[in-house]
Every structure is written in structure tokens, then in C-alpha cells.
């Protein structure tokens, strides 16, 4: 009785019109085949369809609005926007190269650390851990992926940055200081801090998707390997080979997240539009320049330049995610049908 009351408001309106012809006409068992015979079915299906179209349309709307919003700079600078590094709101000269480089360096640094670790975690969870250990650990990893970016940033400012400035960076420059990556004064804030915090943030994603991918490999393959006398690691190597493309997909998803990550990076990267080899130096990313300057962008060209950066970020993440999802989907389908 209680359940009868819990109907969504939209559908109650439909009840009055569609109820009458319903019970008599709708005798067919297969869902879908009765769609022409019942007005309610027709209305409900197309109502939900409308909202599904809205979900799809939203993506195109976002792309279109940003394309339109950046028309000024697209026209004025063209491709030069991507390869020049002057960022001067006073003279209205804009080039996004430092931000693109900053995004690339911080994201790749993050992947360099997070991919091997995440893969190790995935192997442990999917191949080695007993179920009683695997479930809570998986949940823990997923739960930690839900910590808001701003909290990572908070931790970054008060724990990671002091740690880098006082301990890690002095050690690195005295032991590995001959490398161009570890030179210059230790501010704490900089590319290294950004890369480290990003790696912590993307790790749960890479780990949990790789784990799911490893799980889709049929047990038959493991059993066959074990039956031939392979050790656990040799079996895992076979599983890894089968799941190769899916793991690549997981890496791309991690990259997509790292590229678009804003708050935590903005809080620790130092926000200076320089291109340098040293990871100790402050940098800037595409996402953090938008976060810092958008509210203060006073003239039309300035705003347009920032919207163009957002537009590129949108295109890049859409492509990364589409390719990654496609790979992961294809992988699960391959093993489901075989």
C-alpha cells in the first residue's frame, strides 16, 4: 500500500490519460511489443527518451557554448595560441604554452608514479588477496577516491609542501642535484608537489579500474596456466598480457583525471607561468589558470582566452575518456562473448 503512493510526480499526471485502455490491451509478455497499443506506454517512453536526449545534448551544448565563447581569441591568435608563451592581460597578448606544458609535466609525473603502484595494487586485489581481505580493501580504495580535491589541497599546503621544502628537496638536490630536474631553490610549492599530489589522487582510479579489468579475464586462463605448473606470478603475467589494453585504458582515464584536476594542483603548484626543466620551480596548469584568473578577467579578449583554454581542456578530456572507455568496454565485451 505504501509503495503505491511513491510515484514520481511527473507520472501521476500521465495516469489519468493512459490508464483506461491499459489493462485490456497490454496482454503481450515481451516488453516493447505492446508499445503501439498503449497510450501510457507511448507517453512514458517518449518522456524518458526526451530526458535521455537531454543528457546527450548537454555534452554538445557544453562544447558549442565554449567554442562560441572563445571565438574572439580563436580568430585573433589561431593556432599560435597553443605555441606561444606570452600571457599578458595588459597588452592583450595570450599564449597558452606554459599552461599546456605545466599540465603535461604534472600529469605525466603523476602517471609515472601512479601507474606502477596502481597496477601493483590491482594485481594484489584481483589475483592475490583472499576475498575477506579484498572486499574491505577495495572499498577503502574507492572511498578514498571520493575525498574532495580541496581536502587534498589542504593537506598539500600544510603537510606535503613543508615536508618537501624541509626534507625531500634538500635531500634530492644534494644527492641528485646534477640532474636538471632537481635544481634551484627549494620552495616546496612547485611542479614536484603538484605531481606528487596528483599521483595520490589518480591512484585509486587506476587501481580500481585495472582491478575490474583483470577480473574480466576468464578464470579458465588462470586455471590452464596453473595446471601447466606455472607459479602465481607466471600466471599473473599471462593475465596481464590478456588485460594489456584494458590497463592502458585505465591509464588514460587516470590521465584524464590528472589533466583536469584543479583545486589541489592550484593550491600547491605555485602558479607561475614559466617553462623550466626543474621540478622544484613553480609552474602553472591549464585548469589552475582558469581557477585563478577567470573571476578577475575584466575584458572580453581575456575572458575569451580563458574560455579557449577550458575548451581545449574539454576536448582533450572528452577524447581521453572516450578512447579509454572504448578500450575498457571492448575488453569486457571480448571476454564476455568468448
Amino acid at each position: 500500500m505504501m509503495q503505491q503512493q511513491e510515484v514520481t510526480p511527473g507520472s501521476v499526471v500521465v495516469t489519468g490519460d493512459g490508464a483506461a485502455p491499459g489493462p485490456i490491451a497490454g496482454l503481450s509478455l515481451a516488453p516493447g511489443s505492446s508499445r503501439k497499443r498503449n497510450v501510457g506506454d507511448f507517453v512514458f517512453k517518449h518522456l524518458t527518451l526526451l530526458f535521455a536526449v537531454a543528457v546527450l545534448g548537454l555534452v554538445f551544448l557544453m562544447g558549442f557554448e565554449m567554442y562560441r565563447g572563445s571565438a574572439l581569441t580563436l580568430e585573433k591568435f589561431g593556432w599560435k595560441f597553443l605555441v606561444t608563451s606570452t600571457w599578458d592581460p595588459v597588452l592583450d597578448e595570450y599564449g597558452a604554452l606554459p599552461f599546456i606544458v605545466g599540465t603535461l609535466v604534472s600529469s605525466l609525473l603523476a602517471l609515472l608514479l601512479a601507474v606502477p603502484l596502481g597496477l601493483g595494487v590491482a594485481i594484489f586485489l584481483a589475483e592475490l588477496a583472499p576475498p575477506w581481505l579484498e572486499r574491505p580493501l577495495s572499498f577503502l580504495v574507492e572511498l578514498l577516491a571520493a575525498i574532495p580535491s580541496i581536502v587534498y589541497g589542504l593537506w598539500g599546503i600544510f603537510v606535503l609542501v613543508p615536508l618537501l621544502r624541509l626534507t625531500v628537496q634538500p635531500w634530492l638536490s644534494s644527492h641528485l642535484g646534477f640532474l636538471p630536474f632537481f635544481q634551484g631553490p627549494a620552495y616546496g610549492f612547485g611542479m614536484l608537489a603538484a605531481g606528487l599530489i596528483l599521483s595520490v589522487m589518480v591512484l585509486p582510479i587506476i587501481a580500481s579500474i585495472s582491478r575490474d579489468v583483470l577480473r574480466t579475464v576468464p578464470d579458465l586462463q588462470r586455471e590452464a596456466a596453473l595446471a601447466l605448473g606455472a607459479t602465481r606470478w607466471e600466471t599473473t603475467k599471462i593475465v596481464l598480457a590478456a588485460a594489456r589494453s584494458g590497463i592502458f585504458g585505465a591509464t588514460l582515464l587516470g590521465l584524464g583525471r590528472a589533466v583536469g584536476e584543479t583545486m589541489a594542483v592550484t593550491m600547491v603548484i605555485g602558479n607561475r607561468a614559466d617553462i623550466t626543466a626543474s621540478l622544484f620551480n613553480p609552474g602553472y596548469t591549464m585548469a589552475s589558470v582558469i581557477a585563478n584568473e577567470f573571476a578577475e578577467a575584466t575584458n572580453a579578449v581575456y575572458t575569451s582566452a580563458l574560455i579557449e583554454i577550458a575548451f581545449f581542456l574539454f576536448v582533450i578530456t572528452i577524447i581521453l575518456n572516450a578512447v579509454a572507455r572504448f578500450i575498457v568496454w571492448g575488453m569486457t565485451r571480448k571476454f564476455r562473448t568468448s
Binding site: G10, P31, A54, I147, I150, G260, L320
Partner: protein, 285 residues
């Protein structure tokens, strides 16, 4: 020959042991910083939290004490607006995908919803700026709500779909066998059965939206004063954390931790709830 194969065998076993150990080490190394962040926030936040935080307004620069009452209300209003715009689209879209979505169009929507969930939240903020702030000519809670709605939609769509798919097929067959039209079966039988899962899934999406900062920076902007007007800039917990974390006042830093604690607490309680609800669903069949 026997000797070499024995040696080979030992080498393989050692390698096996080594790699298993490596995987375990990875796990420990990966989970440690995450757990550190979590516990550090809890400890700092717990120490910083007091009743003033919930009941007082922010004090002027340099003055100790005060709270974030306006930000708590502001975040509430923002996620309320986000839910108002985002949930109908997400839920109805999810129903479509679950009930009628086994076709190329359904797959496209599903795929794009997944892809859309990977769009950076800062980009969504820019879109909301173009769509709402530019026409209105000033920052507003409304713009923040639109940004949060766009962020919620993919999650809500996919969760609703998955929760409906968890309802056993026999429910649907029973409804149809009684001669009930398909749409009525969906609304009166399938949806109530999936309601608990959908509700907690929605709560999860809302909790995540409450943790968003980047899309609010130039839509809702922030406000140090009491404001509940939808067409005016409004305060939010996350933007307060951002401002207070950068500020050189110890008391503001303390309050940033308190706000972080409240956020994490909210998200974790709801995540646990979601886990509990979906798990008991799985256990049924």
C-alpha cells in the same frame, strides 16, 4: 641436467615470491598516503570543530573565532538547486537507459554519460558561467546550482540505470503477466523496488557535488555575509576552505580543517550507506 632444472625451479619460486611481495608493497605504499590524508584531516578537523563553527558568522579579517553558518546554508542551497535541475534529467534518463536503452541510441547515451563524468569540474564551471552568469551579468547561486547540476547528471543517470537493472526480471514479468501496461509496471513495481538504491545513489552524487570547489569559484563566487538569495553570490564550504587555507591567519587555517572534516564526514557516511544498501540488494538474489 637435474641440477639446472632444480636451480630453475628455485629461481622461479623466488621470482614468484618477490613479485607477490612487490604487489603487497605497492598496496601498502598506495594506501598509506591516502590513509594519512584521511586521518590527518579527521584529527585536525576534530580538534578545530566547535559549536561556533556551525552557528556563528565569519568574523572580519584578523579577528579570531566565528564560524561558517552562512557557508553551511549556502552549500545546502547550492546542492538543493543542483538537485532541482539535475535530478529530473538524471533519473528520467536513467529510467530510459534501463527500460528502453538496449539499442544503439541507448549505448550512445550511456557512453556519453560516462565520458561526461570525466569532464573536469572547472570546465563545467566555465560552461555555467557562459550560460548563466553572462546573461544575468553577475555571479549568483543559480549559476553555481547549474554547474553542480551538470556535474550530477552523469552519475545520477548511470546509478539510476544500474539500480533499476538490479531489480529481478521476474518482477517485471509478474507485472506484465497481470496485464499491467509496461510503463505502469515500471512506475509502480520496478521503481519502488529500486527506490532505496536510487535514493542512496542520488545522495552520493549530491555529497560529491557538495565537495566541488572549482565550478563554484566564478559562478557562486562566495560571500562573507548572510545571503540566501538565489540571484546573488552565495557562500559555500569548499570556497571557504580554499580562501582560508591560503590565508596567513592560523585561526582561519584551523577553520579550513574543520570545514574539510565536515565535508569528508558527509561523503563518507553516505558512501557507507550506499555500500550497505547496494550490498543487501545483491544478497537478495
Amino acid at each position: 641436467m637435474n641440477g639446472t632444472s632444480l636451480w630453475m625451479f628455485r629461481w622461479r619460486k623466488a621470482k614468484n615470491f618477490g613479485m607477490n611481495f612487490f604487489a603487497l608493497a605497492c598496496l601498502i605504499l598506495a594506501v598509506t598516503p591516502l590513509v594519512l590524508i584521511f586521518t590527518y584531516t579527521l584529527l585536525q578537523g576534530l580538534a578545530a570543530l566547535n559549536l561556533d563553527f556551525f552557528l556563528q558568522m565569519p568574523k572580519p579579517v584578523g579577528e579570531a573565532g566565528g564560524g561558517m553558518a552562512n557557508a553551511l546554508v549556502g552549500t545546502g542551497i547550492l546542492i538543493g538547486l543542483g538537485a532541482l535541475f539535475g535530478l529530473p534529467i538524471g533519473i528520467m534518463g536513467g529510467i530510459y537507459l534501463a527500460e528502453y536503452g538496449n539499442n544503439p541510441f541507448g549505448s550512445t547515451v550511456r557512453f556519453m554519460a560516462d565520458v561526461m563524468s570525466g569532464v573536469p569540474s572547472i570546465v563545467v564551471g566555465v560552461v555555467a558561467y557562459i550560460l548563466v552568469v553572462l546573461p544575468m551579468n553577475h555571479f549568483s547561486a543559480l549559476a553555481g546550482g547549474v554547474a553542480l547540476a551538470i556535474l550530477m547528471i552523469p552519475t545520477v543517470t548511470r546509478t539510476t540505470e544500474e539500480m533499476i537493472r538490479l531489480v529481478p526480471h521476474s518482477y517485471r514479468e509478474a507485472g506484465l503477466a497481470l496485464g499491467i501496461p509496461q510503463w505502469k509496471t515500471t512506475v509502480r513495481i520496478i521503481l519502488p523496488a529500486a527506490l532505496k538504491g536510487i535514493t542512496t545513489g542520488i545522495l552520493l552524487a549530491i555529497a560529491r557535488a557538495a565537495g566541488e570547489t572549482a565550478p563554484l569559484l566564478f559562478t557562486a563566487l562566495g560571500n562573507r555575509f548572510w545571503s540566501t538569495a538565489v540571484d546573488q553570490p552565495i557562500a559555500s564550504l569548499t570556497v571557504f576552505i580554499y580562501d582560508y587555507a591560503k590565508a596567513p591567519f592560523e585561526d582561519w587555517n584551523r577553520q579550513a580543517w574543520a570545514a574539510g572534516f565536515v565535508l569528508i564526514g558527509l561523503i563518507f557516511v553516505i558512501s557507507l550507506l550506499f555500500r550497505f544498501v547496494t550490498r543487501s540488494r545483491y544478497a537478495q538474489h
